[in-house]
Subunit: 174 residues, 2 copies
DNA sequence: GTACATGTAAAGTGATCGTTTTACACTCAG
DNA sequence: CTGAGTGTAAAACGATCACTTTACATGTAC
């Protein structure tokens, strides 16, 4: 496997499971079987690595939630949690741990959330045939809520969000 | 002001604004104007201080969202954000930064979320006259979603959550 | 065959981490 | 008057932080 890819996926796991600040560079290089010199050649700094990890996660995430209905959207979220675990939004966690003060990270976070909103806009159009900003906002909030509530309520959170979204859509269709 | 109270409120601000792990003990003692020896006499360890901060925040938070309607609930959340800023749920952030591995913190988090769910259960009863688990779950998810989406969407997130909750309640009343 | 890119291992940078220690001042109850 | 309690300032603890440096092994391209 490519050395960049290997390091990014190792780092993503460690950051996700133990937190960004709590994960030291020694632990990262050791887990990935890579020298620290190579790491810094590739990513420049820890913040650079964090940004790279988040960028890769953004691509992977949006590839997986490529859905055209609310049911499929929350189904994809459920599958994601089943495979990767639910520990809250990694983008918001990175933003919080850095106090919002690292531009590269704040930008990836903002881009990720914008894409999420666009995806949901498209799903709303597919469901009811036209744009509905209020409905899309509600589904985004349910999605965000499920993402975080799943850390302490498990799959029931995603289920509840899906059901609520269905009701709101049914109400909007009439 | 009492020395414990002063330290807890100083620590809450620093933890919230800069992250738990990123906030060192030196910064804490200096900001509170307190010797590190005194800090350790009172709280034993950094984890002990974090748990104390979260416990105090839990009390303050639930005192402020003591509402008897969804409108009042989201109104209280909006006021909270206006005064304290929106950087996501501090309990989930603490849990994430510690990798879920600190029992004292995991317990405060769980207790906090249980109380939130109970409060919402009560509000649902006040709104529609009887229990409705699915509706309560949906409102919890909207609340959680607004809490986190407000970090990047501002007050619009709370507004959207309130409107969606109103619709769901209107649907449940018929 | 030599120059370059890409990797490793390992030691060292100074700073900062959470925590403890030493030494000293003040208050107040017995 | 004394001893316990509560506070301070400041230095020290070893560990770990993010990051750099030195020295050396590759394979590959001109």
């Amino acid at each position: 496997m490519d050395i960049r890819t290997r390091l990014i996926s190792t780092a993503e796991q460690l950051f996700d499971r133990h937190g960004f600040t709590a994960t030291g560079m020694d632990r990262l290089t050791q887990a990935a079987g890579i020298s620290s010199r190579t790491l810094y050649k590739h990513f420049g700094s820890k913040n650079g690595l964090m940004a790279a990890v988040l960028n890769e996660r953004d691509r992977r995430f949006h590839r997986r939630i490529n859905a055209d209905s609310v049911d499929a959207l929350f189904g994809a979220l459920e599958a994601w949690f089943a495979e990767e675990g639910a520990r809250g939004c990694l983008f918001l966690r990175a933003w919080g741990e850095t106090g919002g003060g690292v531009p590269e990270i704040a930008e990836v976070m903002a881009r990720h959330k914008e894409r999420l909103r666009q995806r949901i806009d498209d799903i709303v159009v597919a469901e009811i045939g036209h744009r509905d900003d209020e409905l899309a906002e509600a589904i985004l909030l349910l999605f965000e809520g499920a993402t975080h509530a799943a850390t302490y309520r498990g799959g029931a959170a995603v289920d509840g969000a899906r059901r609520a979204a269905r009701r709101l859509i049914a109400g909007a269709r009439t």
